[in-house]
């Protein structure tokens, strides 16, 4: 579904990605782990053409999107949806208008059909009946759910999750983890989850990629990661900084 080859990205004077090779297979959930600021979100944004690589290729369904002009990326983005870290809801629209946005932009005009699809998407993210609320009246977890409903309402083949549990309490995080898994089963989507939360990684992942110093340092299953004796991986899993008091 998504494949990147020798992906390099430099932002300002900093080389963030230094030759990433990664393949995400159809129907699987791939989790990209790494420390804050290591380039996980930058990598994720390449998958949907929000960033262009300095060099390298990004294939979505075998089509290289790395050099596609913005207007041609529209059809790729119909296949690949993204849930932003903050939810990125349009703050001038209520929940219903936010979720209906991609439907209206796709040319759907029948208000009844739009209302049904919005209600169905909200039901999938456990927010049934919240159509009238404005984004500023939603909690962090609810914003992410509404953002997710907006992403899934047009039924993309692949969903990218950018730090879906960051800033949420443990219970809300667990709820989002279940939601990701449930959606994957219900919609049979390919998912890529960027996180530094080990609970999210273990709960949702079919495969885990660990990003370290701009490269994929580890790629394997959750069990392989858990039982790895590599000190870099173990320090991350255990949350050891190596600093002393």
């Amino acid at each position: 579904m998504i494949r990147v080859r020798q992906l390099h990205k430099t932002l300002g004077s900093q080389e963030v990605l230094r030759g990433i090779d990664l393949e995400v297979n159809k129907g699987e959930t791939c989790v990209i782990l790494g420390r804050s600021g290591c380039g996980k979100s930058v990598l994720l944004k390449h998958f949907v053409g929000l960033l262009q690589p300095t060099s390298g290729a990004v294939f979505v369904d075998e089509e290289d999107i790395a050099r596609l002009p913005e207007r041609e990326l529209g059809r790729i983005r119909k296949k690949v949806g993204i849930l932003f870290q903050s939810g990125a809801l349009f703050d001038s629209m209520n929940v219903e208008e936010n979720i209906a946005f991609p439907l209206r932009e796709a040319g759907l005009r029948d208000p009844e059909v739009i209302r049904e699809k919005v209600a169905e998407a909200l039901e999938m993210v456990d927010l049934a009946g919240e159509q009238e609320k404005m984004p500023e009246n939603l909690s962090g977890g609810m914003r992410k759910r509404v953002g997710l409903a907006r992403t899934i309402v047009s039924r993309p083949a692949c969903i990218l999750f950018d730090e879906p549990t960051t800033g949420l309490d443990p219970i809300a995080s667990d709820s989002i983890n279940h939601l990701i898994r449930r959606l994957q089963k219900r919609l049979s989507v390919t998912s890529v989850v960027v996180t530094h939360d080990m609970k999210t990684a273990y709960h949702t992942a079919d495969r885990i990629a660990y990003l370290y110093e701009g490269r994929i340092y580890f790629l394997g299953s959750a069990d392989q990661l858990r039982h790895s004796d590599d000190p870099v991986l173990q320090n991350f899993i255990e949350g050891r900084s190596g600093d002393s008091d």
Binding site: L50, L73, G74, G81, F84, S86, A88, F90, D91, E105
Partner: protein, 268 residues
């Protein structure tokens, strides 16, 4: 010193290049992309209809004060009847477009830059792109269309109300003969002056909307960046325009919209 100059020149060239790209992309979108008429209508109300009060009040007060001051000076040499011509010609050729430009730059330009800038730093523009919607089609095109339609109308209102206020002050308060006032006003104010006012209004619309949208789309550094965007997009940058309007007056009366060059010399 040379490094500073070099950086300034490069920065200016980059800024001009970015504006040119935005202008080109918008022109292309106006022709090829679907027009979102509901957004256009909303912007028309926001930037045009809601700017009327401030523009009309400014124009009317300027016309009234200008008429009074001109009368006080002309009265000494017995040329009161020329007040109408001076007020009307000044309103149409310079004051109307410049005052409207400043009011709209301050009110609308700053709002556009702040709104788009906020969307940029809160990832809403990335969300638009991720949903397959080009930000220029959705955010810039409706604003460009609305301001280009509104601005000449606002300029006309400002000039018209300014001239009317001048007429009322001159004839009803200061006692100038109505016949003389109207006669000199019509004698010296022609179609050419009206065309000049409207074309300058159109030029201001292009400047205000593209500079503001550009600043919004390029907002950085979170809340601080959003805070700076309106100044760059609205007041500061367009403040160059009155100078640009005035300078060509030093040459023989110039018909073409002015202000384009001086405005850009504010390096981002």
């Amino acid at each position: 010193m040379f490094r500073f100059l070099g950086r300034s020149v490069l920065s200016l060239l980059q800024y001009l290049g970015e504006l040119a790209v935005l202008f080109g992309e918008t022109c292309k979108a106006l022709v090829t992309a679907p027009i979102r008429w509901h957004l256009f209508a909303r912007q028309l109300v926001e930037v045009g209809f809601r700017s009327q009060l401030v523009v009309i009040v400014t124009g009317a007060f300027t016309g009234a004060v200008f008429a009074a001051q001109t009368f006080f000076q002309f009265h000494r040499i017995g040329m009161e009847s020329a007040v109408g011509a001076v007020v009307a010609v000044s309103m149409f050729r310079e004051l109307g477009p410049v005052l409207t430009g400043l009011m709209v730059a301050g009110r609308v330009g700053a709002a556009i830059a702040a709104e788009i800038g906020t969307m940029k730093v809160t990832e809403q523009i990335d969300a638009l792109r991720a949903l397959g919607v080009h930000p220029i089609d959705y955010l810039v095109v409706p604003r460009v269309m609305a301001l280009m339609l509104s601005m000449p109308i606002l300029v006309a209102e400002c000039c018209g109300l300014g001239s009317l206020a001048g007429y009322l002050i001159g004839t009803k308060v200061l006692g100038i003969s109505e016949a003389y006032y109207v006669d000199t006003m019509l004698k010296f104010t022609g179609l050419r002056d009206i065309k000049m006012a409207l074309s300058k209004g159109l030029a201001f619309a292009v400047l205000v909307v593209f500079i503001s949208c550009h600043q919004g789309l390029n907002a950085k550094e979170g809340a601080v960046g959003v805070g700076r965007a309106p100044h760059r997009g609205g007041g500061d940058r367009v403040a160059g325009d009155p100078c640009g309007q005035f300078l060509p007056l030093l040459r023989p009366q110039h018909h073409l919209p002015s202000g384009l060059v001086v405005c850009f010399f504010h390096v981002p």
